[in-house]
């Protein structure tokens, strides 16, 4: 009963152009995939590696310090030009420097060059001259560096405490206050604590001597991290790299999405896809059952089937427009009028949000689920149905006890295809609820815990936004690559989960494929 693998007639290998052509196509596809993934991996993950910082001396005596980014030939063979990332945007407004190679007289990598990651203005590069504490103490040289590292750890702890206080104590109470609760006293206590923390972070600054002879004074609370890449050993660099990747995955974005992490976007993408699956599966399966098992197989049913298949070809932005018009303005607007008129005119459900985005994508992927499930149902031999009926099963019992279990792998195939399509879809989301910045994920400890009305971040939209809408595209590009790689990985994980589920179910039910 089982087809013996390998018994199929095959094209003779190495004979004739057909086999070569086919093998060539496979190789080409694989190469393209490999090239895509390696580009994303190298450009994206390489960004987190602490690159050496060069001190460059030019012909005219000027000096600059920065990470070498790339080198390109000048037009008409007039030599080459190098791009350095010099940071210090607050000093001269530029963050990048193009230098003709011919103008460079010396390049060195002094061990005491410091790279600061700051909350604003991007990186700062220079030599640490002094560290001044809030009481006016002044440390210089190596002592300043040692003290800086210690102080940064303290600051990070304070910052975490502040964020926790804000997210878990103050924000919920502010919302409770808006809803008319009596939490003034608690809120006052929390606010006082917040001010204490804020005060503890303030004061203290460091003075940086830049390569071009300038001086940069940076308040310590602005500094997130400091490192001396030229003095780092490879294990140190690896640790810094790992930390950087972890922060990228676990933190929210900074600096208009051109820096920081993508955690809210990962969370939003996964949550939206899961909601979409939960919404699309029952509808798709029921529709397929109706079309295949219940409806009279006449001309009308055939017409509906063709229409469903054609729905799969409608451009996704069209679904976005539909979602905006029907879900957001239509249903959402009505819901607001009925249940949230207290807060009008500011909309609750009458604006894009998680629920509407999931529903729109569910609609978009509905044809995929219907078609896959229908194919699975059609593959089940009529004898199985008749066998169940002949034992005294009603049609409903036949469906639920024999037909549906046998069609489960096909349904899950449909869901897998739906997930693959939905996770990568960006265009409709821009109309129905994705946000440029929504650092609060839509799940928290507040009732009702899952906030379907909130806007959310999405990896696909994050890529689009960082690549085209940031002020500083050059510095956002590595994050764009990293985010793209992450999106591919997220889709892979979602698909693998569904495939694992399908395999698990098909071994339990003894799927048709085993015949």
């Amino acid at each position: 009963m089982r087809p013996v693998s390998g018994s199929r007639a095959r094209l003779p290998r190495g004979e004739g152009p057909g086999a070569w052509l086919a093998a060539g196509s496979v190789a080409l596809s694989l190469l393209a995939l490999l090239a895509l993934l390696s580009l994303l991996a190298v450009r994206g993950l390489g960004h987190f590696w602490p690159a050496p910082v060069a001190l460059v001396v030019l012909e005219d005596g000027r000096q600059l310090a920065g990470e070498r980014v790339r080198e390109v030939p000048l037009p008409e063979g007039t030599g080459r030009e190098r791009l350095y990332r010099t940071g210090n945007r607050d000093l001269d407004g530029a963050r990048w420097a193009w230098v003709p190679v011919s103008a460079i007289t010396a390049v060195s990598h002094p061990r005491d060059l410091v790279v600061l990651e700051r909350r604003r203005w991007g990186e700062a590069i220079g030599r640490l001259t002094a560290l001044e504490s809030v009481t006016g103490e002044r440390l210089e040289g190596e002592a300043a560096w040692a003290a800086l590292e210690g102080r940064l750890v303290e600051l990070a702890a304070l910052r975490r405490a502040r964020d926790t206080l804000r997210d878990e104590v103050i924000l919920p109470r502010v919302r409770a206050l808006e809803a008319g609760g009596d939490v003034d006293r608690e809120l006052a206590i929390a606010n006082a604590r917040l001010r204490e923390l804020q005060a503890a972070m303030e004061g203290g600054r460091l003075i940086l001597a830049t390569a071009d002879g300038g001086q940069l004074t940076v308040p310590l609370e602005e500094v997130l991290r400091a490192r001396r890449p030229n003095a780092m050993s490879p294990p140190d660099k690896l640790a810094t790299w790992g930390e950087g990747v972890w922060r990228f995955l676990s933190e929210g974005p900074r600096a208009a999405n051109t820096a920081g992490g993508v955690w809210p976007a990962i969370f939003g993408t996964v949550l939206m896809v899961m909601l979409m699956s939960v919404l699309v599966t029952p509808f798709g399966v029921l529709a397929a059952i109706y079309l295949n098992e219940v409806a009279h197989q006449g001309r009308l049913t055939r017409l509906v089937r063709i229409a469903v298949r054609n729905l799969a070809g409608v451009p996704s932005i069209v679904y976005g427009v539909f979602g905006l018009g029907v879900f957001v303005y239509g249903i959402g607007g009505t819901l607001d009028e009925w249940f949230f008129d207290a807060t009008l005119p500011s909309p609750t459900f009458g604006t894009g949000g998680l629920l509407w985005a999931s529903l729109t994508l569910a609609l978009l992927t509905l044809p995929v689920v219907i078609v896959a499930t229908e194919e699975g149902l059609a593959r089940i031999p009529d004898q199985q149905r008749e066998g169940a009926l002949a034992l005294g099963a009603t049609r409903l019992e036949m469906l639920t006890r024999v037909v549906l279990p046998m069609a489960t792998p096909a349904m899950l195939t449909g869901v897998i295809l739906a997930v693959a399509r939905a996770a990568g879809e960006v265009a409709p989301l821009m109309l129905v609820g994705v946000a440029k910045l929504a650092p609060q994920v839509p799940v928290d400890g507040d009732f009702p815990f899952l906030h379907l009305d909130r806007k959310f971040m999405h990896l696909g939209y994050h890529i689009f936004d960082a690549a085209f809408h940031g002020g500083d595209v050059q510095s956002a590009m590595p994050l764009v690559y990293a985010t793209a790689l992450l999106l591919v990985l997220v889709i892979l994980v979602l698909n693998l989960t569904a495939i694992f589920l399908r395999h698990h179910l098909s071994t339990r039910h003894g799927a048709l494929t085993r015949r």
Binding site: E386, A388, L391, G392, A393, T394, H509, G510, A511, L512
Partner: protein, 272 residues
């Protein structure tokens, strides 16, 4: 043979034996059936004796499988079917308004040409019909399952692997499993639609032996293409052609001394 005295010459042209109502399990009267405008059965009238094996033979497309499917109303599934005439099970019209189809199908079980066990364990296959009825303790259910598997001569082969997938059984075992599954719900009539045509000779012999054993408490109706099989297992044989009942009589008589030339031609293989 308790039925022998009931055999009477039947009206020409069809030699139809007419059992007394008390001795017959099923009675078909004036049954005509068409798929859309394609006629499949024409004015069939016959009685099927209780606790005997009755075989329907005839060329492909003669309507014998259709007739079988009418007996437990599987033709209901097809909206195009138009039927007139009556079918009585123990004196009750099976198409009557008070008849629950599910209940009827439990009383009239059916085994199909290709084995169709469900994709579940052996145990769950046999338990399927019992679970539909519900109201049985697990212990009672297990007893019935064992009894059904023994009745289908499968118990000794599967008793140590009841939890294994039914699809791991051989074709012959699967067919006996399907019979056990049908027996478990306690039918009065068992319809067999070419039950051995997809099986090897040894499995076929097992099925035939099983059929002979089952008639002690069941009425069996067998559709077969295989003349030898009909001769080996059935007590009565009906020959159908083009949707009409041509000849019906005790198997021995029909095969050795057919009344009609058409029947003789068919069973001797001289039919065009």
């Amino acid at each position: 043979m308790p039925f022998a005295q009931d055999l009477r010459p039947s009206p020409d042209p069809a030699a139809v034996i007419d059992f007394s109502p008390e001795a017959s399990s099923l009675a078909i009267r004036g049954l005509t059936l068409a798929y859309g405008d394609k006629p499949a059965l024409r004015d069939l009238t016959l009685r099927i004796p209780r606790h005997r094996v009755t075989a329907f033979i005839g060329p492909s497309g003669c309507g014998k499988s259709t007739l079988l499917r009418v007996l437990n109303r599987l033709h209901d599934l097809n909206d195009e079917v138009e039927r007139t005439g009556e079918v009585y099970l123990e004196g009750e019209e099976i198409h009557g308004p008070g008849v629950a189809v599910a209940e009827l199908r439990r009383r009239v079980g059916m085994v199909f040409q290709a084995p169709n066990p469900f994709p579940m364990s052996i145990h769950d296959n046999v338990a399927f019909g019992l679970r539909l009825q519900g109201g049985l303790s697990k212990r009672k259910r297990d007893d019935i399952i064992e009894w059904a598997l023994r009745s289908a001569a499968l118990w000794d082969e599967v008793k140590d692997r009841l939890r294994a997938s039914a699809w791991s059984l051989s074709g012959g075992q699967q067919q006996r499993l399907v019979i056990a599954r049908t027996l478990a719900v306690g039918p009065e009539v068992l319809l067999l639609d070419e039950p051995a045509s997809a099986l090897d000779p040894i499995s076929t012999l097992k099925i035939e032996e099983l059929i002979r054993n089952l008639k002690s408490h069941l009425t069996l109706v067998l559709v077969t293409h295989n003349m030898q099989q009909a001769a080996r297992v059935s007590d009565y044989t009906a020959f159908l052609q083009d949707g009409e009942l041509v000849e019906y009589g005790p198997t021995d008589t029909l095969f050795t001394n057919p009344r009609l030339r058409r029947t003789e031609n068919y069973i001797t293989g001289r039919m065009a």
